[in-house]
């Protein structure tokens, strides 16, 4: 298959922005560490604003030039040097992450303030520095063009994510953090093994060069299988999800939002990158079907188990298990479209939209659950009475986020579903469409249960345990609205995700 992926030998205009996108968060981490205490929060919030501006600038450069943004570190070309490269997929993820992290930052301002009279408190300091570290590593995952750099980025992501789980410091959360860390390490060492095999066979780890060099043979298959499964373990695709529910449900709300909305997308993105851009000619339709079958199992099991949870945060965590499943349905659809010599944009855009709408919706839902917890002092679903009165905006946000997960129009979830179902029918794989539709129904059941319980009037004389600042509610609602209105992306005149990606020549988009 012809490929236009090989990295050009030059740094494109605006390429330096990629370096900034990665560097600025890490500079923030260092500055936060030096300043400590209240300084960490101030630095973090300033960095969030700067990072959003950088992401917008990168997107602007990409759309204007209509080609991938590239930066060669030190001017050395691969295979000796390392290239940073942002195509449409990467830029969209950069932008989405910047927005979600911004929303989470605004929300966490209230929860992770250093109390007056104390010079430095542990949890706020750790949270703000790690938030920036997560962000920097995610950006590195998106723009990196080298499998080893990606390994380091993924490890950084895990190291930043694990302490977020155990911010509370209780034994349960420490235990879930340790489980998370060990299982993620298991995954990453497999990934590294795969990368090593690839180097041994082809003498490079640069994505563009590998894409041109790999050909189907046992060592490539072994490497692909090892790397993919390693990434699946980090993404927590069913049945490799043992660490996810306790870790995501036990963390503080803002941290859960980061972990559930963003961190798992890092390894997923890399899997997409590998399957779509590196191993196109190597992976086969049955292997893609295997991934999607796991996704389908995740959707069914995750949703049903979510329905049976008694705690709101565990319910949302299991909902993440299910939503991860949707992310893997795109693989056989993209493979099927490519095999039929058709544009795979429907499948790729569908998967990407699903990822972004889940990132925004799930962050909003976890943060909404956090506000509910603060207000009620618990998150038992059976006893959510009074939430509608105390937190009307938050409940609306939860419902909108839920609507996006269900896939009601005009949400991003709907557009994603529409694209994926179309791709499933075009490639005659209608069973995946069936799974998506059934999954939507199961999702609607638990969203309905939560909303209805929260709508129940509070008992006489009930007062909220604590009141939450208005801007926290606004931040949650804003993220939920992002997710709910993401479907309007259909009005976007250019196929941004397709910029700089490999295109099968001769066949345009419909």
């Amino acid at each position: 298959m012809p490929h236009s992926l090989s990295t050009p030998d030059v740094t494109t205009p605006g390429g330096l922005l990629l370096v900034l996108a990665v560097l600025v968060p890490f500079v923030g981490v260092l500055a936060g560490m030096v300043l400590g205490g209240r300084g960490a929060r101030r630095v973090a919030l300033a960095t969030l604003a700067a990072g959003l501006a950088i992401a917008i600038a990168i997107a602007d450069t990409l759309v204007r030039s209509g080609a991938a943004v590239v930066y060669l570190l030190g001017g050395w070309t691969p295979p000796l040097g390392v290239a940073l490269r942002a195509d449409g997929l990467a830029v969209i993820m950069l932008l989405a992450v910047a927005v979600v992290i911004g929303g989470i930052g605004v929300y966490a301002r209230a929860d992770f303030g250093t109390p007056p009279g104390v010079r430095e408190a542990r949890a706020p300091f750790v949270f703000w520095t790690l938030l920036l570290a997560v962000w920097g590593s995610l950006n590195l995952v998106f723009v990196s063009g080298d499998l080893f750099t990606l390994y380091v980025a993924l490890e950084l992501l895990t190291f930043a994510g694990v302490p977020l789980v155990s911010l509370g410091g209780q034994p349960e959360t420490l235990r879930s953090a340790l489980r998370y860390l060990l299982y993620a390490l298991f995954g990453s060492v497999l990934y590294l093994l795969g990368a090593v095999l690839l180097y041994g066979a082809y003498g490079t780890l640069d994505i563009g060069l590998l894409a041109a060099r790999v050909h189907p043979e046992p060592v490539t298959w072994a490497a692909a299988a090892l790397m993919t499964v390693g990434l699946l373990a980090k993404t927590a695709l069913f049945p490799l999800h043992l660490w996810l529910p306790p870790a995501h449900a036990g963390a503080p709300a803002a941290a859960s939002a980061v972990l559930s909305g963003l961190v798992i997308k890092g390894s997923w993105f890399l899997a997409v990158r590998l399957w779509l851009d590196v191993f196109v000619g190597v992976v086969t339709l049955p292997s893609a079907q295997t991934l999607a079958a796991l996704g389908a199992a995740a959707i069914l099991v995750g949703n049903i188990v979510a329905l049976r949870q008694a705690r709101l945060k565990l319910l949302i965590a299991y909902s993440t298990v299910a939503q991860i499943g949707y992310l893997f349905l795109m693989f056989p659809l993209a493979a099927g479209l490519a095999a039929a010599q058709l544009d795979d944009a429907a499948a790729v855009n569908g998967g990407l939209l699903q990822a972004i709408s889940h990132a925004t919706a799930k962050a909003a839902m976890f943060m909404a659950a956090g506000l509910v917890y603060t207000t009620l002092g618990h998150d038992r679903i059976a006893d959510l009475r009074g939430v509608a009165r105390a937190l009307p905006m938050t409940l609306v946000a939860f419902a909108l986020g839920g609507a996006s997960l269900i896939g009601l129009p005009p949400s991003g979830g709907f557009l994603a579903k529409w694209l994926l179902v179309s791709a499933a029918i075009t490639t005659a794989q209608w069973w995946w469409a069936l799974v998506m539709l059934v999954g939507g129904l199961l999702t609607s059941a638990y969203v309905f249960i939560v909303v209805v319980r929260a709508l129940a009037p509070a008992p006489e004389g009930w007062t909220p345990k604590a009141s939450v600042p208005c801007y926290q509610q606004v931040a949650v609602l804003a993220l939920a609205l992002c997710s709910f209105l993401l479907g309007l992306a259909v009005l976007c005149p250019v196929d941004v995700a397709g910029i700089g990606r490999a295109v099968v020549p001769g066949i345009g988009s419909p």
Partner: protein, 543 residues
């Protein structure tokens, strides 16, 4: 230009009011505006022409258009929404927590008008979802545990139906040439679609569920039974017509497809009788009306089915006319049920007599809109067996409506001095007049027939004899009715309760398996197994 403004206002005004509800102070003052919110829709139905309104760019655009079926239904729906809004405002006076009701009401109204006007697949699906969510919220306003259950059943079925619809719509979009998303183009492309049969089945199942086709009708008695009176009125009148209208628009009625039309007609006619049989065992007026809706919607679907079977494009017009009549009458009767329950003694007959006229009108009482509706659909049903069944259904309807009137009279307030407040009695009277007059107007204005044709003695007689037989049967029912077995409200869903226990047990088992998979050694082994499976999948296929 005017048309665009009218269409924008029709959908935009209720939507703007809905958005304004974000401000609590406005939300509390909203009830009096409920009666005015549908006025722009009424104006659009009367004055707009059929120029489409397109919002968006070349990539994707929302389009709205006022076609003939849409215009008929929009006109009568706007009248009903307005009257029911006035009724609701009276009920909400002095209520402390009107906010939830108002929000759901406006959401349902926006969705309802929007669906009547939507001309593209995505806009239609979106507005239908708005409609379903809003309507389930209205059911929830009953506030009881039954209301919660009914709301859950309603929303669940609506979403299942929409899942079928989504699949159908995607198939439609894929089969439509030039990437057009217009409903008109999509319907025209169905006969040549490579997925023709599947598309039709998905659309018919999805829309049939929402239209209350037996055996997926059980949400109707549950929902209408618990919803507040004005909500039940608009749901049984206007909301449920959205699916009938969608059937009319989506099915390619100008191509004869007897393989689909005849089964559809058979299911519809079965529902028409099933509703009567279960309805006469009920005693609450709202429930009897709900089963009458099951019956009438079944009949309407049968008309559409016969039209599809014969490839009769004219069926669209008469089916819409039938739907418009039912919309007015059923909405009016639900309001009557509310008014009568608060009226007693001498004023009662004032309220009961109009109700009797409308109720018998559904059975085809001469000179009423019902007789016109039956007359209008007659050409579509011209087939020996179907014609006979249609006549039998008229007899059954008369029987059911007489039973309803008896239940209605029994539900009157025991306080002989009780009188319904004007704020509720007036909307009911308005609906009564509209239900009598508007069908005649529509009948001649749409060119279905002329008044003089409709007033011929032979036709009057043809409409009368089923009434007489129905009345005779009703007498029998009152004499021996107590020997009938009693069906629970929402028959099937109640009977299927034990099935739920099996589902719960499966859920337990699944949760157990999930727990095992989350153990570390199991998860570790799964990881290794997956490597082998994935590698194997590439290896064996790659060779």
């Amino acid at each position: 230009m005017t048309t665009s403004l009218l269409l924008i206002a029709a959908v935009g005004v209720p939507f703007a009011l809905l958005l304004a509800c974000i401000v609590p102070a406005i939300r509390e003052r909203m009830p009096p505006l409920l009666a005015l919110a549908p006025i722009p829709a009424l104006a659009a139905a009367l004055f707009a022409d059929d120029t489409p309104l397109v919002l968006g760019n070349a990539q994707y655009a929302l389009s709205f258009v006022l076609d003939e079926p849409g215009r008929m239904l929009l006109l009568v729906a706007a009248i009903l929404w307005s009257a029911a809004g006035a009724y609701a405002a009276t009920g909400l006076r002095g209520a402390t927590h009107a906010g939830g009701f108002v929000v759901c009401w406006l959401m349902t109204l926006t969705g309802c008008i929007g669906v009547f006007l939507a001309a593209d697949l995505v806009g239609f699906y979106f507005l239908l979802a708005v409609l379903s969510v809003g309507a389930s919220g209205l059911v929830l306003q009953g506030g009881t545990a039954e209301a919660l259950r009914a709301s859950a059943v309603y929303l669940g079925l609506a979403l299942i139906a929409e899942a079928f619809l989504l699949a159908g719509l995607v198939l439609l979009a894929l089969a439509t040439p030039d990437g057009s998303l217009l409903i008109r183009d999509a319907a025209a492309a169905i006969p040549t679609s490579p997925w023709r049969d599947l598309t039709l089945v998905l659309l018919i199942v999805g829309l049939g569920m929402k239209a209350g086709l037996v055996p997926l009708h059980f949400w109707m008695p549950l929902a209408y039974g618990v919803a507040p009176i004005p909500a039940a009125a608009v749901m049984s009148g206007a909301v449920v017509k959205a699916s009938a209208l969608a059937l009319i628009r989506f099915l390619p009625l100008d191509v004869a497809l007897p393989d689909f039309g005849l089964p559809l007609a058979a299911i519809g006619l079965f529902g028409a009788f099933y509703g009567v049989v279960i309805g006469i065992t009920q005693s609450r007026p709202k429930i009897v009306l709900a089963y009458s809706s099951v019956s009438q919607m079944g009949f309407l679907v049968a008309v559409i089915g016969m039209g599809l079977a014969a490839g009769d494009a004219g069926a669209a017009r008469v089916a819409s006319f039938y739907a418009a009549h039912h919309l007015l009458v059923k909405g009016a009767l639900f309001l009557a049920a509310g008014v009568v329950a608060t009226t007693g003694g001498r004023q009662l007959w004032l309220m009961l007599l109009p109700a009797a006229i409308l109720a018998l009108g559904i059975g085809g009482l001469p000179l009423t809109g019902g007789a016109l509706a039956k007359l209008a659909v007659k050409p579509v049903l011209e087939d020996g067996l179907v014609e006979l069944l249609a006549a039998l259904s008229a007899i059954g309807t008369t029987l059911l409506m007489l039973h309803f009137l008896r239940c209605l009279a029994a539900s009157a307030s025991p306080d002989s001095a009780a009188a319904a407040p004007w704020g509720t009695a007036l909307p009911w009277m308005l609906m009564f007049v509209a239900a009598l007059v508007v069908p005649w107007m529509l009948y001649s204005a749409t060119g279905i027939g002329t008044w003089s044709d409709a007033l011929q003695p032979g036709i009057l007689w043809a409409a009368s004899w089923p009434l007489l037989i129905g009345a005779g049967l009703a007498l029998g029912l009152w004499r021996w009715g107590r020997y009938l077995p009693r069906a629970p409200e929402g028959d099937i869903v109640v009977v299927s309760q034990p099935a739920m226990r099996v589902v719960v047990r499966w859920g337990d088992a699944l949760e157990g398996v999930e727990g095992v998979l989350r153990r570390w050694p199991v998860a570790g082994l799964s990881l290794l197994m997956l490597i082998l499976i994935l590698g194997g999948a590439m290896f064996f296929d790659g060779h």
